[in-house]
């Protein structure tokens, strides 16, 4: 619960109102939050079958040569 409150506080601290016409920097391609979907999916699958913090079973199927 404390973690949730901390994360919510983080999102609201230090924010200023940025008008749409002031967002040129944020609209650049180098500021995209998410990369290409197909590549993100491949990376997520490799991560799921090669680390313990993401349950390998959570990757949906093996596909890892390890089961």
């Amino acid at each position: 619960m404390r973690l949730v409150l901390l994360l919510l506080a983080l999102t609201s601290l230090g924010c200023v109102t940025v008008r749409p016409w002031q967002r040129e920097r944020l609209s650049r391609r180098c500021m995209e939050m998410d990369g290409p979907a197909s590549s993100a999916s491949f990376e997520a699958h490799v991560r799921a079958v090669r680390s313990g913090d993401v349950p390998a079973a959570g990757a949906g199927g093996g596909g890892c040569g390890c089961n």
Binding site: L10, E24, M33, S38, V46, G63
Partner: protein
């Protein structure tokens, strides 16, 4: 003309997500390759498509194939190589309820000889009126059938549910922040159906608890240093009821050397404390037992480099993208004797066309 495009982009831009434009059809081909020093290699070609059906409704579909060749030391008592194929298909639909809210549903099916998985996910995306905050909510459920295998003569089941939320916020003219929370529950067979564990002088089938509850939190910050240069940093903490705790940190840099090109360098480092029941030696056959190195203590270093070429050049929305990525994954295992370190390499090539 360029100024008008720029203002249009800036007006539409919300929280660093892709600017909202009339939906376009999209076709993407992706090829991935993984190989490591544990004699595992995987080819992964995949195809994705998105088609707008109306102003509000978009349909999507995807197909991916894993061709796996493995003779891992994890698989005890087998000297032969295993060649296996996994087919994954997905179909989905996204509906824009208004210009700030989108809901989606996706179904997914994964098939390989000893593992079948079906799942569904529901999503909600909503932006604030000022478009400086974006909320993403996701619910996922999955039903897996595992085996049969060496230690399991008949098929067993595994069910899982995931709830995830993330909030992305414009902090100032140059900075974006995203926080995410996720909770997973897995219930059912999670032991490998091929892995044996030494107890005394004998080997017994792996057994791990059938219930696993996991929580994860991430914080990500992106900052624009110059119009064509941005840095990012992310930290994630994961903990679960098996006693596993993982800290994951990531730093990265993105540079646009030309309006049609982008270079990205990223490095991820992870430190993991193993599950409570992970041991090298067990005194008796009662209780949980595993020699799955992913459940032990380990450290991971994962640097990667990406090149993306997009045409036409920014600020116009791209019609073509060609991407290349290479990564190296180094893992050091605390207690896993057969293989104390694993080194892997991945390579990716993708091409996307928007219509």
């Amino acid at each position: 003309m360029q100024l008008r495009s720029l203002v249009g982009l800036a007006l539409a831009c919300g929280c660093g997500r892709a600017p909202q434009r009339p939906a376009r059809a999209e076709l993407s081909l992706h090829g991935g390759y993984y190989a490591d020093n544990d004699r595992v290699s995987v080819w992964n070609p995949s195809l994705r498509a998105r088609v707008p059906l109306s102003r509000r409704v978009t349909a999507s579909a995807g197909y991916g194939l894993d061709i796996i060749s493995a003779a891992s030391v994890d698989v005890v008592a087998s000297a032969s190589r295993v060649l296996e194929r996994r087919h994954e298909t997905s179909v989905g639909v996204q509906v824009a309820l208004n210009d700030r809210t989108t809901v989606g549903a996706t179904g997914r099916d994964s098939r390989e000889p000893d593992y079948l998985s079906d799942g569904v996910s529901l999503t909600l995306d909503r932006e604030s009126e000022s478009r400086d905050t974006a909320l993403h909510l996701e619910l996922r459920g999955r039903w897996d059938r595992v085996g049969p295998g060496w230690t399991l003569p008949e098929r067993a089941t595994l069910g899982s549910g995931v709830a995830a939320a993330s909030l992305t916020r414009v902090i100032d003219r140059r900075t974006l922040l995203r926080v995410g929370l996720q909770a997973d529950v897995l219930s059912g067979l999670q032991s490998s159906v091929y892995r044996y564990v030494p107890v005394g002088d004998q080997w017994f089938a792996e057994r791990v608890p059938e219930l696993r509850v996991r929580g994860a939190a991430t914080v990500r910050l992106q900052h624009s240093l110059r119009p064509t240069l941005a840095v990012l940093a992310e930290y994630g903490l994961t903990t679960d009821t098996w006693g596993l705790v993982a800290h994951v940190g990531e730093v990265g840099l993105r540079w646009e050397p030309a309006p049609w090109a982008m270079v990205e360098l990223r490095a991820r480092a992870a430190l993991q404390r193993g599950a409570d029941f992970y041991q090298g030696r067990y005194a008796s056959v009662t209780g949980w037992r595993t020699r799955d190195r992913l459940l032990g203590g380990m450290a991971t270093l994962w640097p990667q480099a990406t090149l993306r070429f997009m045409w036409p050049a920014w600020p116009a929305p791209p019609s073509w993208e060609l991407g290349l990525r290479g990564a190296w994954i180094h893992q050091q295992f605390d207690d896993y004797v057969p293989l104390r370190a694993r080194d892997a390499g991945t390579g990716e090539l993708w091409i996307t066309r928007w219509f």
